[in-house]
Symmetry: C2
Subunit: 122 residues, 2 copies
């Protein structure tokens, strides 16, 4: 079966927790993504911020990335199946899952758009 | 085959072109959506604004909805197949398609998350 690794975006754009909301927005626009893993200098995952969180900062006048990011991130592994990834997205109502290794380092990003694309190719 | 109508969100949240960027952000957060069709009082489609566009307003200091919305909207019909919808999303690199009737009125919204969900259920 098709695995996460076959479909994911490798080496995705990431952001440090010390960055600003504006920097997160600029990176999303510059890289044309909706989701940014938040990482340490060693690339280990510590959170996620999405364009929906940026909308939350506009709606609610939040000032810092820490106030709008999500810390408990739902993640997957390279060898997981697409079906598991799709189930996790549905169960947790999220549209992207960072792909991490056994050390928690970010290897890729898998989004519902990438999974949906397989429907186009059938 | 499964059609758009089987999967779409019926009567989706919509917004008027005269609304503000902040109102669009508040509606996205309140309704937990990423995409808002922009409509006339008669519910006819005139554009779309997404959480990515809200991020664009933060990155670029845009002030009005008109400056960040997209006017040429890729749309689908109730009777279209999921495969066509998925192909349109891939071709145009968008994650949602408003579903319209022959008068251009918005009947629903179909997102890549809804299509991806069908992968979870296989
Ligand atoms: C409930 S979702 C709905 C909007 C949009 N589909 C999204 O994923 O951002 C929004 C929230 O989910 C969070 N989120 C997105 N992906 C996540 C993931 N893989 N694990 C945990 N939270 C996540 C975001 O930080 C945001 O606060
Ligand atoms: C290239 S997409 C990438 C980000 C995200 N997936 C999204 O769809 O917003 C971003 C742009 O596509 C536009 N867009 C989204 N859905 C659209 C649709 N059905 N037709 C035309 N433009 C659309 C948005 O207004 C936004 O400016």
């Amino acid at each position: 079966p098709v695995t996460v690794e076959d479909l994911m975006m490798k080496d995705p754009p990431v952001i440090l927790e010390t960055s600003s909301i504006r920097q997160a927005a600029e990176l999303m626009i510059g890289q044309e993504v909706d989701h940014l893993p938040i990482v340490s200098k060693e690339l280990t995952l510590s959170g996620i911020v999405t364009s929906w969180d940026i909308a939350k900062s506009v709606a609610g006048d939040f000032q810092s990335l820490a106030e709008i990011m999500t810390k408990d991130v739902i993640t997957i592994r390279c060898s997981d199946t697409l079906r598991l990834a799709a189930s996790l997205m549905e169960k947790h109502a999220v549209s992207a899952l960072p792909v991490i290794d056994e050390e928690g380092r970010v290897l890729g990003m898998l989004t519902s758009e990438m999974i949906s694309r397989t429907e186009a190719l059938q």
